[in-house]
């Protein structure tokens, strides 16, 4: 029964937010220049990226326990990369079910938007992958912080709260918040750029920039992980 309630809860949350968008568009035709179908796709893209991240990186939420008890020692002596356990070692198969409606609905609403081509769908998919790279970098940074400070829970909640701001188009935020969310904390690149590319509204420069940002973040994250391992003191011994 537990898994059923879990899925049901997620479904209710999704439907309520969807209903909110529907109500807002009962009063207006456009939000910051975006039509109903487009805003829904922003919302669905956020859900898609967030859900895939949840599926892949669930184990990060349990990392603090491994550090505090010293169980991380045993992982570090195994002949595989520790990320296999501490990053992607707890894949949440239950969430995979939720991907089906998200992908289906993206196709349904995208179908009603004029000008979408196979090329824009390809760019959209590539940028989703890029968003997952950024999410991976964020989670590796959280793991590194977990070793350095034994603090994981708050770091991951800050990440989740920040990314949830990407449910809606970045255009709804005022400057300088919009620029901060795009370039300093790249939530915009994660959540906003893929739908923009789908609607053929993303410039080539920003398209390229998004890949550079993700590569830079991955580099920083791996560097931080390396530093953290060097500082690891193996508690609980």
């Amino acid at each position: 029964m537990g898994p059923l309630f879990f899925l049901f809860g997620k479904l209710i949350r999704f439907v309520l937010m969807f209903f909110l968008i529907f109500i807002i568009f009962g009063k207006t035709r456009l939000i910051k220049g975006y039509a109903f179908n487009q805003v829904v796709i922003f919302y669905l893209t956020f859900n898609l990226i967030d859900t895939i991240t949840q599926i892949l990186f669930r184990e990060v939420y349990r990392f603090r326990y491994l550090v505090l008890t010293g169980a991380l020692d045993l992982i570090l002596t195994k002949p595989y990369h520790p990320f296999l356990k501490v990053l992607v070692g707890g894949i949440d198969f239950l969430d995979i079910i939720m991907l089906i409606p998200y992908v289906g609905l993206i196709f349904f609403f995208a179908h009603n938007i004029p000008g979408i081509t196979f090329f824009s769908i390809f760019n959209f998919s590539l940028l989703i992958f890029n968003s997952l790279l950024i999410a991976t970098a964020f989670h590796i940074i959280v793991l590194a912080l977990g070793i350095l400070t034994t603090e994981v829970d708050h770091a991951i909640m800050i990440y989740r709260d920040m990314t949830s701001l990407g449910r809606f188009p970045m255009a709804i935020y005022q400057e300088p918040v919009r620029s901060i969310f795009t370039f300093v904390i790249p939530i915009g690149i994660m959540m906003f750029f893929p739908p923009q590319a789908l609607f053929n509204l993303l410039s080539f420069t920003l398209y390229l920039l998004s890949f550079l940002v993700s590569l830079f973040l991955i580099f920083i994250a791996l560097w931080m992980w390396g530093v953290a391992l060097k500082k690891y003191q193996s508690w609980g011994g």
């Binding site: 008890t69 010293g70 169980a71 020692d73 045993l74 570090l76 002596t77 195994k78 002949p79 595989y80 391992l229 060097k230 500082k231 690891y232 003191q233 193996s234 011994g237």
Partner: protein, 317 residues
């Protein structure tokens, strides 16, 4: 197999002041030296006992040798690798058994965990089956292989942990207090297993334990460490010869004798008829025995070495 030169490890602990801003931006650290320029070598097929009190640096040394911790300075070479690089070829040749940590999956049977390890270490089917058979026979625990781990006692679980750790037949094994918390029967079974495993598979073993009995029974070579420095590195026999200054003469009296006579030999540490025990300096042993032979009617006389625990205590003090 292992070469360690001038190995130093310094731990940093943040010092909290009452000023949060200062803590955030200008945090002060307290440094504690866990290892201070430690050097030693360990060859193939050796079984070395690593002993010292809590916080001596035993486990830190083992964790550096296994690549878990990064040394502050010094050189470490294990099986031709630099451990901290964590190369898969290196990690496949070592095993780290910690008496206080479990790698078996709690809700599943040990066999399920072994199958996972089989894939991780890429063990051939035939070798996998044979190793499980051999190790479970050595530990006499064949009946436990398919029971959920959560239903096993501590001693039983330790046996199954040993199989999990040694399934890939490592060339080098670190045992960090493998008998901690076990009853005397389980301790004996684990010791017996370690000895037989080393004979059968020819691995090199480094063993740390708070129970000197473990080290006495298993290791020919002893490394005594305290406050991050090696105090002694040599055989068990040599440490006894070098540091033991006293012997114990124990006699069983044939008939009661006066205390005056007993005290002529020396003040006994035990005087409970019919047993008397004297603690004498080694250099006075022959003359004391001659005196006993002359003065005391006894039915049995034994000379015992000082206990290793006492010698180690002297080393630590």
């Amino acid at each position: 197999m292992i070469t360690v030169k001038n190995l130093t490890k310094i731990y940093q602990t943040p010092i909290r002041s009452k000023n949060m801003i200062k803590d955030l931006f200008f945090r002060q650290y307290k440094q504690s030296t866990a290892l201070n320029k430690v050097s030693f070598e360990i060859g193939d097929n050796e079984l070395v006992g690593f002993i010292g009190p809590n916080g001596a640096g035993k486990t830190t040394t083992l964790k550096i040798l296994a690549g878990v911790l990064y040394p502050t300075s010094g050189q470490v070479n294990v099986l031709g690798f630099s451990p901290f690089e964590k190369k898969a070829e290196f990690l496949k040749q070592i095993a780290f058994v910690m008496g206080q940590r479990n790698q078996l999956i709690w809700d599943l049977s040990p066999t399920d965990s072994y199958l996972l390890n089989k894939e991780i270490y890429e063990i051939d089917d035939d070798i996998f089956k044979k190793t499980i058979r051999d190790l479970s026979e050595l530990l006499r625990c064949e009946q436990l292989l398919d029971k959920p781990v959560k239903t096993l006692s501590l001693g039983e679980r330790m046996k199954m942990e040993l199989i999990a750790a040694l399934l890939h037949r490592p060339r080098l094994i670190f045992f960090d207090e493998p008998t901690i918390g076990l009853d005397i029967f389980s301790q004996e079974a684990i010791r017996d297993f370690i000895r037989k495993f080393q004979t059968q598979f020819g691995s090199s073993i480094i063993l740390t334990s708070h129970y000197l009995e473990d080290v006495k029974r298993l290791a020919k070579r002893l490394i005594v460490i305290n406050k991050g420095k090696i105090l002694y590195d040599g055989t068990l026999k040599t440490i006894m010869e070098k540091y033991s200054k006293v012997k114990f003469i124990s006699v069983v009296l044939e008939k009661n004798v006066s205390n005056n006579l007993i005290n002529q030999i020396g003040k006994p540490i035990v005087n409970l008829y019919p047993k008397i025990v004297w603690k004498v300096e080694k250099k006075h042993l022959p003359e004391k025995i001659t005196l006993i032979n002359r003065l005391i009617p006894y039915s049995d006389l034994t000379v015992e070495e000082e206990r290793i625990e006492e010698i180690i205590k002297v080393l630590f003090s």
